[in-house]
Amino acid sequence: MKTIYKLATLTLMMLAASLYGFSQKPPKASGPENLERGVIGPVTSNGSWSGYSTLALIPGAGLIPVTNTNTVLYIGFTAGTEADITNMVLYTTPRGSSTISTVTPITLGGISNPSIDLASATVCPIVEISAVNPCIVRLDPVKLTLSALSDYYFVVYFTANDSNNGALGLTAPSFGQSSLRGSYISGNETTLGVGGSIPSSLSFSAQPYNLMYVMND
């Protein structure tokens, strides 16, 4: 009878092992995932942003089918010691339309008008920043699931009459392979409301300044 128990135990263990093996799921992609094809390759520097708004188009048509409940925006700096931001927002429009349907505040450290200390090693690990060593800052996650049926415009207004922003350099992509597009305009474009329009004078045919990546974490 002892032999029977041994055989039974062995068989049950084999059964458990086979069940465990079949129940495994394929591995998931590790780490944060791209929601959109971001800026690729080396960047150059574009300077003097006091009193300007940058507008970056995140096209719904460019979304990678990755499940996300959070959207995280990453912005890049190439020169300067401090970036003084008056406001940051993310506008939602129907795909291909310039009419704003939703306005979502964007923050860093919980505030939408941060001053970013680019000389701090905790903010920019490689000091001093340059086009070769850009400082990439991760903004606060937004509780927003991007939809392929919408377009999104990320807008940052750099405070006017501000010497820090006069010396500020933003990343400007060299390669044209990103799905992101961008433009800029003088004045504060972060105060548009629902029903307002993205300025029609902007073409968004070029790569974006400042915005580098759109990810789920």
């Binding site: 032999t3 086979s18 079949f22 590790s30 094809r37």
Partner: protein, 217 residues
């Protein structure tokens, strides 16, 4: 009776095991998935004579598309030549947007990082010697590494200085390069160690000549 019990228990256990195996839903099949957008068309213009040259191809972390992968398969394509003599192949990792090497991973074909590829063999190129209309795409050995969106990768292939390599032709100057971009330099660029720097890409976002696809298998 004792023998009967033994036989009965054994038979029952075998039945349970067999039933369990047959009852399993088929295991998750690994599906071929692109990790980044590869080249859409194959061309052959713009190739230099490759003897003594290295090609460096950027696989940007910002372009990864979220497919699950614990391994990475690189595919290279030839459109001319009879034998490719490779001096070495390597996959460098850098931080995203940076040129400093943090890791160098050996890339092999048939276990060798310096293979000679017989392009006239139908076991290598099923349609015989490659042409631009009948290119020969070769899957290198799978690299046991998951690509992360937070890093960039450079696949570097060095072609030995010999007469065979004077005649090889890659897939180059495609009008649909996907997310891959490459450039080439004279000399062996596969020996850069950790903390070394990738040479500056002065060809901007030109399509890659040899690396055509990056997939999970």
């Amino acid at each position: 009776m004792n023998t009967f019990n033994k036989l009965a228990t054994c038979a029952l256990m075998m039945l349970v095991l067999a039933a369990s195996a047959f009852a399993q839903a088929p295991g998750p099949e690994t599906t071929l998935a692109n990790l980044t957008e590869g080249q859409g068309t194959i061309a052959n213009s713009g190739n230099p004579q490759w003897d003594g040259f290295s090609e460096l191809v950027l696989i940007p972390g910002a372009s990864l598309m979220g497919a699950s992968s614990s391994s990475t398969a690189l595919y290279i394509t030839f459109t001319g030549g009879t034998e490719a003599d490779i001096g070495n192949m390597v996959l460098y990792s850098t931080l995203r947007g940076n040129d400093a090497v943090i890791k160098a991973t050996k890339v092999t074909l048939g276990g060798l990082s310096d293979p000679s590829i017989n392009l006239t063999s139908t076991s290598v190129c099923p349609n015989g010697a490659p042409t631009v209309t009948v290119p020969c795409t070769i899957r290198l050995d799978t690299v046991k590494a998951a690509l992360t969106t937070l890093d960039d990768y450079y696949f570097v292939i060095y072609f030995t200085l010999d007469t065979n390599n004077e005649k090889i032709v890659g897939a180059g100057q495609s009008v649909e390069p996907g997310a891959l971009s490459g450039f080439y330099l004279y000399g062996d660029q596969t020996r850069i160690g950790a903390k070394g720097a990738i040479a500056t890409n002065e060809n901007t976002d030109q399509p890659a000549f040899f690396l055509t696809y990056v997939a999970n298998e």
